[in-house]
């Protein structure tokens, strides 16, 4: 056995341990969702059942929470994506001398613990809505959306910034030069260029909102979302119905990941084909010149 093989075995061992730590708990929890035992347990495996899923979907609070989570998720996408987009575009336009301060302000939510964002959101809007008389805004769903958007907008902005970094500003100028107005350049050139980023920012925003707990638990007031209901249930005691929820979420996530991967593969193949065609055209041209 040479040192190279020892090395490979060590790397393999490490990878196995790492991913066992990553997936082990989730796998074990998933198994308990199918065990008839009233406590989430793997062994003894008393018998296979889907009863826990039935109980889960019959849980009214959970379902109300789920609906609210979906509503908040959509609202967060609608707030965060435009805000993050505007934040990223303005980043290039703010005076260089002030850019740093601007950056600190808009990126600070990323580095602020979620609980604090939740707390400050509630405090501000309670006061603000009372003072302005807009008390209809003092609503758990709206506050949760605003609180989450505070930092999810910043995530979106970072996504847009990294895409904009590769943007050739000559494209905008070319549009203007051909007679387009600023608004037309924005609509026809910048937005289509950012479309992939808008898509991934939307997905990211929705998922981050859906799984958020720290900010939501403060900002949701008397309402509930899936995660806050879940937190309450978990604190009351363990039941395999919770495992069943986890299995459902994991299944959806895995399915989503597979779909995403398939789409990406197709796109990659298309891109490779485009590049091949460009190379072919290049060769033809050189031969002709």
């Amino acid at each position: 056995m040479n040192s190279r093989m020892i090395n490979r075995i060590m790397v393999g061992f490490y990878l196995v341990v790492f991913f066992a730590y990553l997936f082990g708990p989730l796998v074990i929890m998933s198994i308990t969702a199918f065990n008839t035992s009233p406590y989430p347990a793997v062994m003894p495996f008393e018998g296979f059942t889907l009863e826990w899923f039935r109980i889960l979907f019959a849980d009214k609070d959970m379902m109300i929470g789920l609906q609210n989570s979906l509503r908040i998720g959509v609202l967060v996408v609608l707030i965060s994506v435009p805000c993050g987009l505007a934040g990223a575009i303005l980043m290039h336009q703010v005076l260089p001398r002030l850019r740093n301060y601007y950056y600190i302000v808009v990126v600070s939510p990323v580095l602020t613990p979620g609980v604090i964002i939740g707390i400050s959101t509630v405090i501000f809007w309670k006061d603000f809505t009372a003072a302005t008389g807009a008390s209809f805004l003092y609503d758990g769903l709206i506050l949760a959306s605003l609180g989450q958007s505070s930092f999810i907008s910043a995530y979106c902005m970072l996504i847009f910034l990294s895409r904009l970094q590769r943007f050739d500003h000559a494209l905008e100028e070319a549009g203007l030069d051909l007679g387009a107005s600023n608004a037309q350049v924005f609509r026809h050139i910048l937005i289509p260029y950012l479309r992939p980023a808008i898509l991934s920012a939307s997905v990211m925003a929705f998922l981050s909102s859906f799984e958020n707990y720290n900010t939501t638990t403060f900002a949701i007031l008397a309402d509930k979302t899936l995660t806050t209901v879940l937190a309450g249930r978990v604190r009351q005691g363990s039941t395999p119905a919770i495992s069943a929820l986890a299995v459902t979420i994991i299944a959806v996530t895995v399915a989503g990941t597979i779909v995403y991967e398939l789409i990406k593969r197709r796109e990659d193949a298309r891109k490779a084909a485009t590049m091949r065609r460009a190379q072919d055209a290049e060769r033809l041209e050189m031969a002709a010149a």
């Binding site: 074990i28 303005l90 580095l111 613990p113 609980v115 707990y213 996530t253 991967e261």
Partner: protein, 338 residues
């Protein structure tokens, strides 16, 4: 000072700052330091307005004002609504005093419960951060420099998937494992290693394991991105020169990956110190973690000003950590948040 006097200043602060922004912009243009078309000329009126409104709504109403209100509230007493902005609504340090010394009626010198929880939270968060780094660095390096493209893609997918399972469920998974009737105890009992189930949750083992697990991925990604940007030739050159493997990592790879390391550590520390789910789900009755205490100030004691003070203390700690990381790594905020 009366809160009724100070409160308008808090509201006015963003306006003043914005006015200063505008004034500086005007001045730079007048002095000819800035050229080119003006803001609305450049963006057009509709788009220009959209950008401004969106950013102001976000920065002012979702970031700055909420924070300012929280800071202000932390200096005010808890009063019934009828007395808000009344004569008794004055700024003081009493909420911070409470954090240090406890209630004035108690006989203890220090507010030991809260102080200990705070201290323990900070120390544990730092330990968790380092543990995460140690655990994730090899993987990040392996993916960035050793593994082939197809494998990296597969590993990335594996890493992302559990991240979208929410924190509560991830914590719950650890409870299933560590509960007194959980898998680990069952295995230990079956193997005859222990005679009685071990109370892992009461001993906080579950909590720390769960905390360490919760934000691992936020360490892997920045590390991976940073190490990936490193040219392979650099490592080969170092190896050619006969540097031992640990030397290469310590003096070649890690300095190069500094921004990624800083970014991962900052995120993990912030998220761990601010974690609420794992302590709630995995903490035993005697577990001490700071965020549940903050939560209780709000929704058990209903003492919002005190809760604000506690939240601000946590926030300042995180800021201090970020600044320390920036100083140690000689990095800018842009590099850390990339």
């Amino acid at each position: 000072m009366l809160a009724s006097v100070g409160h308008p200043f808090v509201l006015a602060l963003p306006v003043v700052v914005l006015a200063m922004f505008l004034w500086i912009a005007r001045r730079e243009r007048r002095l000819g330091l800035v050229q080119g078309p003006g803001y609305f000329q450049r963006n057009g009126v509709p788009i220009g307005l959209f950008l401004l409104i969106a950013v102001l709504a976000w920065a002012v109403f979702m970031i700055v004002l909420p924070q300012l209100f929280m800071i202000e509230l932390s200096f005010r007493p808890k009063l019934p609504p009828s007395q808000t902005f009344g004569p008794r609504d004055v700024y003081s340090l009493q909420n911070y005093h409470y954090f240090l010394y406890g209630s004035p009626t108690s006989s203890a010198n220090w507010n030991t419960v809260h102080l200990r929880a705070f201290w323990q939270t900070i120390v544990a968060s730092i330990v968790v951060t380092f543990a995460n780094f140690a655990l994730c660095y090899p993987l990040a390096f392996y993916m960035a420099q050793v593994a082939g493209a197809a494998r990296v893609r597969f590993l990335l997918l594996l890493l992302i998937t559990p991240y979208w399972v929410n924190e509560i469920l991830r914590a719950f998974a650890f409870r299933v494992m560590f509960a007194s009737s959980g898998l680990i105890n069952k295995l230990l009992l079956a193997g005859g290693l222990v005679a009685e189930p071990i109370d892992f949750l009461g001993l906080d083992v579950g909590m720390y394991a769960g905390l360490g697990y919760a934000y691992m991925l936020l360490m892997v990604f920045p590390l991976y991105n940073a190490i990936e940007a490193m040219p392979k030739a650099q490592i080969e050159a170092a190896r050619d020169l006969g540097a031992p493997w640990w030397h290469i990592h310590l003096f070649v790879v890690m300095p190069f990956a500094r921004p990624g390391i800083a970014s991962g550590c900052t995120l993990v520390f912030m998220l761990t110190a601010g974690a609420l789910a794992a302590p709630l789900v995995l903490g035993g009755p005697r577990s001490l973690w700071f965020t549940p205490i903050v939560y209780d100030r709000f929704y058990q004691a209903f003492h919002w000003p005190q809760g604000s003070a506690y939240a601000l203390i946590l926030l300042l700690t995180c800021i201090a950590f970020v600044l320390a990381v920036m100083r140690i790594g000689k990095l800018s905020l842009v590099e850390i948040t990339r």
